[in-house]
Amino acid sequence: MDRWKVKKRFFTFLIMPGFLWILTFFFLPLAFVWIISFGEKSNIIDVIITGTFDNYIRAFDGIYFKVFTQSILISLITTLICLIISLPIAFLISFSSKKIKTLLLILIILPFWTNLLIRTYSLIAILRTEGHVNKILEFFWIKMNSILLFLGIYGEKIIEPEFMPLNLLYNNFSVIFGLVYIYIPFMIIPIYVVLDKFDKSYIEASLDLGAGQIKTLFKIIIPLIYPGIVSGILLVFVPCLGSFVTPDLLGGSNSQMIGNVIERQFKSANDWPFGAALSFLLIYITIGLILIYSLLNKKRIKEKI
């Protein structure tokens, strides 16, 4: 590696495009958001910067605070479900033969190449009242009824004769289902990467020494793949918290998330300072989580030494 002073001109040629670009077209826009978040709306289009903290205070009262806590809750539940599903899947992949392993990994990464919007939209056709889930349930319902009829206990009204379709769309269930559906690869991949690297003879040793499968799982495997789990949690939780498309398309009026409130400030309510403040709260939460994550990592590395 060279010191930059040795070849000043070459160094400048290499560094300037990227540096200037990210400064002008990323950090400058962020600075604009930050400044506007301390402003007030003067009329429909103009904003005066008054240095007020009102926008931040507003985020913590009444309905907005409820939206905040609800978003965090939805993201937490989503992360937990992703974790529970990912563990066995990652486990199976890392213990499969090489050919199947590659196939399964490709199958998990492939949805990444599909548009988030399209994947969310594709769930509507599955979950809606006349969607496939309800159609399948109805089919079993009718079969069940005909069996009861055959057995001669139809009149006992064990189950309702008419099938009532379930409301699977436009509620918290559909939002969580959609988020799990979209973000689960982000949990499987990091867990798989760690699981694939660690020495499998630890498991064998633990089983040999008389620990059961469950004890081995909690005492050996989970502590060892812990870093993968933590990065998975971060990779799922952060985009969930800032998600907008999924709650917008799959959620009802009671399952709004921060992203929807932000979008409304810019697209319909026209309250830019408030929207900017909400965006920055989201950024602060993200940075906070990443700091905690890197501190945990440092601590772990220290402990190892």
Partner: protein, 280 residues
């Protein structure tokens, strides 16, 4: 006595892939992961407006999509944005990656860290930032193509070139420095080293990263949604405005086209990389 057959059937301590419930669970998982998308593609060929039951094969919704002028225009916009932003972000990304690999300088760690910020902050925050930025600096509104896409292109470069930097930087980490030293001993200039050693070495990573930049630009919805006006919508934004009116086979057709473009470009590049490797 355990017969030979039983011995084969019996699961070894580490053969977790042979646990039945784990297998069924994984199969079920992949079915749920793929069913909605496959369903979407199949029902784009369905001859029914309501799109609930199968009523026979038809291509009429594709024809309808191709006759829809704004849809076609938005598709052309999407492709041109992806094309331009890929070229620019690849150039910027390669230069930055070589710089990070080659030079030591003060605040280098901070520069590397700052390149990660566009990747980690929530997309909606970046969309908001772009909206506020272009409004505050009074970015001129161009009417003519392709200048009317400038805002979206700029926003796309901002989030895609850091990916290029990461991929190329990782590849350069594997380059044997002895090669560089040898060529310097033999009197090569920086430009010769760049042309004859570095570029051939990073070529696969270059192609892979520009493909990634192309696809994330083509697929982006949220940031484009905030930066686009009524005159410069992209295909995802158009699909979004159609989805607001409910499920229709036309959306399925448009979505299928977008999925296919992405899949075909992936296959092309993968084949190209294979060909490159084989010819060596």
């Amino acid at each position: 006595m355990i017969s030979k057959k039983q011995l084969i059937l019996r699961r070894g301590p580490l053969e977790y892939s042979r646990i039945k419930w784990l297998k069924y669970f994984t199969v079920l998982f992949f079915i749920i992961l793929y069913a909605p998308i496959i369903n979407l593609i199949i029902f784009s060929f369905n001859d029914s407006k309501l799109n609930i039951v199968w009523r026979g094969f038809t291509l009429k919704y594709y024809l309808k999509a191709f006759q829809n002028e704004t849809l076609i225009l938005s598709f052309i916009n999407s492709l041109s944005i992806a094309f331009v932003s890929t070229i620019i972000s690849t150039i910027i990304g390669v230069l930055a990656a070589i710089c990070l690999w080659k030079f030591n300088f003060k605040l280098k760690n901070y520069y590397e860290l700052s390149l990660l910020v566009p990747i980690i902050i929530p997309e909606i925050c970046m969309g908001v930032a772009m909206l506020i930025f272009f409004n505050s600096v009074n970015w001129p509104t161009f009417i003519n193509w392709p200048l009317n896409l400038s805002e979206i292109i700029i926003a796309h470069i901002s989030f895609s070139f850091p990916f290029v930097v990461i991929i190329i930087r990782a590849r350069l980490g594997n380059l044997n420095k002895v090669l560089i030293e040898a060529s310097k001993d033999l009197g090569a200039t920086e430009w010769t080293i760049l042309k004859y050693i570095i570029f051939p070495f990073i070529k696969p990573a270059l192609i892979a990263s520009s493909l990634l930049a192309f696809i994330i630009s083509l697929d982006d919805f949220i940031i484009t949604f905030f930066t686009s006006g009524p005159n410069n919508i992209t295909l995802p934004v158009k699909i979004y405005s159609m989805v607001r009116f409910g499920v229709s086979p036309e959306i399925n057709a448009a979505s299928t086209i977008l999925i296919m473009v992405v899949i075909i470009s992936t296959i092309l590049i993968v084949n190209f990389l294979k060909y490159e490797n084989n010819s060596k």
